[in-house]
Structure formats: C-alpha cells, structure tokens
Symmetry: C2
Subunit: 180 residues, 2 copies
C-alpha cells in the first residue's frame, strides 16, 4: 500500500485536474453544457440504454440524469421511446443530429487536448488513461449513497471498462438483470 503523504498529495491533485476539466468545458458549444455532453458521449459510446443505466454510467442520481436528458431531448439530439418490456422505463437513443453533435464534441475536445498535450508521448497519454480508468474502477459506484441499489450491479463496471462497443450491450445487460 502507498504511503499516507502520497494520498494527501493525490487528494490535492484532484483540484488541479478540476481546473483542466473547467478548461475543457469552455470549448463546448454554447447550447451544450457539460452535463448534456456527457449524456451524448455515453450514448454514442455504449448505444441505446435506459435512464437508470445512464445514471449509473454518469455516477449521479437519476434526478440529475433526468434533467440533463430533458435538456438534450428538447434540442432534438436524443429521443425517448417507451420500453416494451417495462412500461415504467424509457429507452434513450441518439438522433442523427445527436450523432453529429457527438462527433463535434469529440472533435473539440480532441483538438484542445492535442494542442495542450502536443509534447506528450503516446505512452504517457496511454499511462494517464490507464491510471485514470483504474482510479475510477477502484472507487466503484460513486453515486450518492441513497442512489446506489442494494444489489451491487455487476454490469456497471464491466460496461464502463469495455473498449467502446458499437452495439447495445448495456441495454441488454440491464434487461437481463431485471429478470435475474
């Protein structure tokens, strides 16, 4: 196990990274705040899914997710269709305009990172990605206590660690869990 002083220092570094995150937010389109961008990006990466699964991937309460999704729906970037398997549920799906926005967001973020990290080696970036992913993994479900389900979901981490599938495994996984 690492030393105490290291953890202290690591804690401080989070604020620094927060500043970088704010900087990244500034390159987003005016009508697409970071909450909306996160919704679109996750839908683009994991495909159609339900609100509850999206909330899990976002690591926030579903009420937060609901508001973000409503914003994105208003702009025509995603559509909510009823889930035939569960009438309480709704399936979220990117529209063509939404997919275009996903592409635009990726381009903006990538451009800024490429500009700022122009002198980083391929390996350094890969290492940072790996350690950040491991960090998230070590923390597990980061949602507020009351939003965490009693049955620790086994599909969440697996989906989040997947190498960007193009189909809709997340949706299927959720449907499976319901009947388990």
């Amino acid at each position: 196990m690492a030393e105490q002083t290291q953890f202290e220092e690591l804690g401080r570094q989070f604020s620094a990274v927060g500043a970088v995150h704010r900087d990244l937010r500034r390159v987003l389109p005016h009508d697409c705040p970071s909450g909306s961008a996160a919704v679109l990006t996750l839908l683009g990466r994991y495909g159609d899914m339900r609100m509850s699964k999206l909330a899990e991937l976002l690591s926030v309460d579903m009420s937060v997710t609901s508001r973000s999704v409503a914003h994105v729906v208003d702009r025509g970037w995603i559509e909510r269709s009823p889930d035939p398997a569960d009438k309480r549920s709704r399936i979220l799906r990117l529209t063509p305009a939404g997919q275009a926005m996903v592409d635009d967001l990726a381009r903006r973020t990538t451009d800024l990172l490429a500009e700022r990290l122009g002198d980083w080696t391929d390996d350094e970036v890969a290492q940072l990605i790996r350690l950040m992913a491991r960090l998230k993994d070590s923390f597990g479900d980061c949602r507020p206590p009351h939003a965490r389900p009693p049955h620790p979901s086994q599909s969440a981490t697996a989906a989040a660690a997947a190498p960007a599938p193009t189909s809709a495994p997340v949706l299927e996984a959720t449907a499976t869990r319901t009947s388990a």
Copy 2:
C-alpha cells in the same frame, strides 16, 4: 505526439475522475464545502498570500475566490489583514482553528483514498500524481480568458510545482512581481 483516438479517450476519462471527485467531496465536514476546503488547503500548503495569488492557484476568477474566502472568514478559519505594501490588497492567513480544519480535511481525504486505493502500489500512486501534475502544467493558466493577466505570471507554475514549502514564498514572489 499521441494519437487522436487517445485524446478522445482521455477526454472521456475526465468525467470518470469527476465522479471520484464528487465522492471525495462527500466526506468533507458539512460546513466546509469543497470551495472552502480548497482555500484552506492551499493556504496550508503555500502559506499566507493575497487574494489574487489564491485565485491564480485555484484557477478561478477572483470573484469566485472572494466569495469562498468570505465563507471561510465567517467561520473563523482564516483572517484578512491589510497589506502594508498595497492598501488595496489583503493578506490571508490561517487561524489556529483553520489549521486544525486543514488537518481534519487532510485526514478525511487520506482515509478515503487509503481505503479505496488500498491495493495500489506506492509506485502506481506516484505515477498518477506525476501525470496529473504534468497535465495541469501542460494546460498552464486555466482561468477564464478575461481573468488572465496580460503578463503571463512566471511565479504561478513554479509555486504550484513546489514540494510543499512551509514558509510564505508565494507572498514574497507576488510582492516582487509588483515592483518589477
């Protein structure tokens, strides 16, 4: 230079780390939100300083800093004394109660990290710290455009990269720059 797809992936990882950051916020005392915690932690690390220097270290606009500082002053954790060298300015200093809070904050953060990252090696934590610091360094001054000074400050990065000095070099550096 790293590949495009890497930057895209790195961009996504920021949201994941944001979730971890939210989790860390939850262990803070009820009357010490993350903005106040950041103020106290920086004062504890770099010693007495002026508002403008604190804003620079926080990477936010001074108006944000001002409000956070006011909150912390209200609770008696820091005090603002007039700067004898510049009557517009005020020097911020931790009170004994503030120092106690700094210690408490460090303990809480360290405990949570030690619990979650219990299986990380010393070297892995060190690598993550190093890469996060480099990331911040590559981004430079992350404050909103209008808050950035015309003269790119040379003391900011140096101070932020310092290995936790106990005296007040930040304050001195600022005073020096004024007369330069």
